[in-house]
């Protein structure tokens, strides 16, 4: 049983990064903005968080720095696409390329740095239970924060007035504008929130998950998070499910390799992507459901004057 408990623990851990980043992008996209800069924002946040961790030794300051760096990148993007109405896809790609290069540039002197001993967490009482203890109750707080975030975001989007306004802006900015809502300001807030969450995920990678800094270390997680929002049809619970599924299959295929299972490792490496796409496509295969959930003005610029 012990290996299975550890496998569950590793799954939750691996899914957390994707879930946080992907929830952030979901907020963006619910407001009608596609930010392809996720990879770049996460990298810049990863170095910001790592550097802060090295200098202050405080993980929570490091997370704050990462979230701040992600939001700062998002601000740049937001001003470009919301006020100057540049193409969202091109601007996002440019932001991503910029983030890759910029993080490498400012991170040069940190490649040989190391953070101190990593703290261990456990929930007193529950952590000592057999099986469920090691599986569910010995995680870094961020793992639980990701779950809470999913619940809060689902509540916010579907149960709160502010969430309704956010979705209205993503569906029909013209109507929201006509009703007197500040569409541009709302979109900017959504973009900033998305950037901050991507930043949080990036900092979590460089400070806790793989505590080191090397350029390009996010290694495509930002792109996977972007794909996940779409495959999860912009629903928070499905994003979390997809993230855990991806993390779970990743860890499972490593586990099978270690057990000497006679399947080509190249095939196993492919499995997380395949499994996540298949499952999410299957549960979202109803075209009406996709149409209902996809923000109608996704990727389209909004001109208040027209």
């Amino acid at each position: 049983m012990e290996p299975i408990a550890l496998l569950i623990a590793a799954t939750m851990n691996a899914g957390t990064v994707l879930a946080i980043a992907s929830l952030g992008l979901l907020i963006n996209e619910r407001a009608g903005i596609v930010n392809l800069g996720a990879e770049g924002m996460m990298l810049v946040a990863a170095i910001a968080g790592f550097a802060t961790g090295v200098h202050t030794g405080n993980d929570w300051l490091a997370f704050a720095a990462g979230a701040g760096a992600g939001a700062a990148m998002a601000l740049l993007f937001g001003v470009l696409v919301i006020w100057l109405n540049t193409n969202q896809y091109a601007s996002g790609l440019a932001l991503s390329l910029f983030g890759v290069g910029f993080s490498a540039f400012v991170g040069i002197r940190y490649t040989q740095e190391r953070l101190g001993d990593r703290p261990r967490f456990e929930i007193p009482g529950l952590a000592d239970l057999p099986f469920v203890g090691p599986a569910f109750f010995k995680h870094h707080p961020m793992v639980y924060i990701a779950i809470v975030l999913t619940v809060v975001l689902a509540w916010f989007l579907y149960r709160s007035r502010a969430g309704l306004v956010l979705r209205a802006v993503g569906e029909s900015p013209e109507s929201a504008h006509a009703l007197g809502y500040p569409v541009r300001r709302i979109r900017l807030l959504a973009v900033l929130a998305g950037g901050a969450l991507c930043g949080l995920a990036g900092a979590y990678i460089s400070v806790i998950y793989t505590p080191l800094w090397v350029e390009g270390m996010i290694a495509g997680k930002g792109w996977i998070a972007l794909a996940l929002t779409t495959f999860a049809t912009w629903r928070p619970a499905r994003v979390l499910l997809g993230a855990y599924l991806f993390g779970g299959v990743t860890m499972l295929q490593f586990h099978l390799q270690g057990q000497g299972v006679q399947i080509a490792s190249q095939l196993l490496t492919m499995l997380p992507y395949l499994a996540t796409i298949v499952v999410l496509v299957l549960i979202s295969r109803n075209p009406t459901f996709i149409r209902v959930n996809m923000p109608a003005s996704l990727g389209k610029p909004f001109y208040p004057g027209s």
Binding site: G101, M217, A219, T250, G260
Partner: protein, 382 residues
């Protein structure tokens, strides 16, 4: 209408600035001239420095493979001073981009060009055919021409010495290796690591997990975690970052550094670093060109030539094991010690080397099987 044009302009300007900034920072082309301004007005008596260029597959900040190559370049500059002028381009992908970058190096007057990854092979061969006056040095490949030759390091010697320590330090008798891409070099390293461990602890088995990438720190860490979960207590890796070592550090287990000295990344977990030192070869190759003795050959250097070593061995390792590693190192240095010497049995129980038989380089280059004691099977296509 005017408003629209103005807006378009601002928009374009904004995008342009961002793209330009990305381009500036993104492609890391750096020149490091020995004396930039002075060369132009230098007295005619002084000979032109030999221009040498390096094409790297990764970033110099990877703390592993490319970092080690760049240390070699710096050592070469220190050795020859203003007789040479070196430059490099980092993160050159293995593909058509490599040809463009290397042709550009030729056009800039470089007379000696190093390509530091397998995937540049065919492009370098093509360019070598067009520019007979330029010497090409290709790392880890097997194709040569009258002005192109190959060089490589016997990384398996470092893996073997690490294995000796791993075999002595494991309590669960299970070792874990995070494999990068299943090519003979990596399979050879996994086998050599296991051979080293078995030489001090016959009960050892090795679990292997492939990530099918050279560089992906989070994934390398996940693979390491998976091995630890399955009972491995000493880890080894053939990937490019220090993520595996750090995963062991976090879990309170043991691991090694690879390609360059990684001891400071895992003060408790680190048992030793199997390093590659490219400096001796880079200095030799440059001297060959400067003195006109350059000729086509293939070089495979190891401990003997100072290209491979196991450094920063931890105090945790018992004295008798340290002494054993020292004996092996000395034996490799004088050529009296053979790592691949029979009897060696393959995973399927068939004898691959008979008792007393010593593997030649051809045998070593063609290893695509696991030896007995390695679990799992070699991925297809290798």
């Amino acid at each position: 209408m005017t408003d629209f044009t103005k807006r378009t302009l601002i928009r374009l300007a904004g995008l342009g600035t961002l793209a330009a900034a990305a381009a500036l920072v993104g492609c890391g082309k750096k020149e490091e001239p020995a004396a930039p301004a002075a060369t132009a007005e230098a007295p005619a008596a002084k000979p032109e420095p030999l221009k040498i260029a390096f094409a790297y597959v990764g970033p110099v900040g990877d703390a592993g493979w490319t970092f080690a190559h760049d240390n070699g370049r710096k050592a070469l500059e220190a050795e020859f001073g203003d007789r040479v002028q070196t430059s490099f381009v980092e993160s050159v992908p293995e593909g058509a981009d490599a040809e463009r970058v290397i042709r550009d190096m030729v056009n800039q007057g470089n007379k000696l060009i190093f390509g530091t990854t397998f995937g540049y092979m065919d492009y370098m061969l093509k360019i070598a055919g067009d520019h007979k006056d330029v010497k090409f040095e290709h790392a880890t490949g097997y194709k040569t021409a009258e002005n192109m030759r190959t060089y490589d390091s016997r990384t398996y010697e470092g893996a073997y010495m690490a294995g000796v320590i791993a075999g002595a330090m494991t309590k669960s008798n299970t070792l874990g290796v995070v494999g990068s891409v299943p090519i003979p070099e990596v399979i050879r390293n996994i086998n050599s690591f296991t051979l080293g461990a078995q030489s001090v602890n016959p009960k050892v088995t090795t679990k292997v997990v492939w990530v099918n990438k050279w560089f992906d720190p989070p994934k390398e860490g996940e693979a390491a975690q998976s091995l630890l979960n399955q009972g491995a207590d000493v880890l080894f890796q053939n990937t490019d970052s220090s993520a595996v070592l750090q995963a062991a550090e976090k879990a309170g287990k043991l691991a090694f550094g690879w390609d360059s000295d990684m001891s400071h990344f895992g003060p408790n977990a680190h048992l030793g670093s199997a390093i590659i030192n490219w400096a001796p070869y880079y200095i030799k190759a440059t001297r060959d060109v400067l003195e006109g003795t350059w000729k086509t050959e293939t070089t495979w250097w190891g401990v003997k030539e100072g290209a491979i070593d196991l450094v920063s061995v931890s105090d945790k390792v018992p004295a008798d094991i340290r002494a054993k590693v020292d004996t092996i190192r000395a034996g490799l240095k004088e050529g009296s010690y053979n790592i691949w010497k029979g009897p060696i049995t393959g995973q399927d129980g068939k004898e691959v080397l008979k008792d007393g038989e010593v593997a030649d380089d051809k045998f070593l280059h063609g290893i695509n099987f696991y030896i007995k004691g390695v679990e799992g099977r070699v991925p297809a296509g290798s």
